[in-house]
Amino acid sequence: MDQYLGQVVMAIGFILAILGLYGLLSQKNMIKMILGFSIFTTGVNIIMVAIGYVKGGTAPILDAEGNAVAKFVDPVPQALVLTSIVIGLGVTAMMLAYVMKLYQDKKSLNINDYKDLKW
């Protein structure tokens, strides 16, 4: 019944990642761009966890005696995603801090108004 769970979730991750990338590239509003970036990150995290999924696997936590009772899913991608989520918050907060400072400078959220470095 549940043999395609990994594929379904992975497909959701792909769609989210592509939607996020599209938002990041197509939007002019800087806050919208950052929203797109955070959706992109979520999608990539879902893909990474789905890669480590094993059909019918359980969470990689052993019973009290330390015996493996069942098939486990891969713990490595989960550990990586764990750090990735926390870093994602730090990076998002940093970008928002930049946006706040830029807005105080020019009173605009449109990315096209910031052409100081363009030549």
Partner: protein, 80 residues
Amino acid sequence: MLTVLAAILGIAAVVGAYYAIHNEKLTAAIIASGIVGMVSSILFLLLAAPDVAMTEASIGSALTTAIFFFTLNKIRQTNG
């Protein structure tokens, strides 16, 4: 059964992401992206990753949304 649940949650996540990217109102867009975080946390739980689900539930849906709203409030203050 879990596959069907995952598919329904996935539709919610994709609609939320589309709404977050295409809505003109920033407040609604930020709430929609919070929904994406919440739904993806349940997806992690379905993939047998409770550790990741816990982190995503508190960071992806609560803290990120709050920081976006603080930024929005500051921008409105600067404006008026």
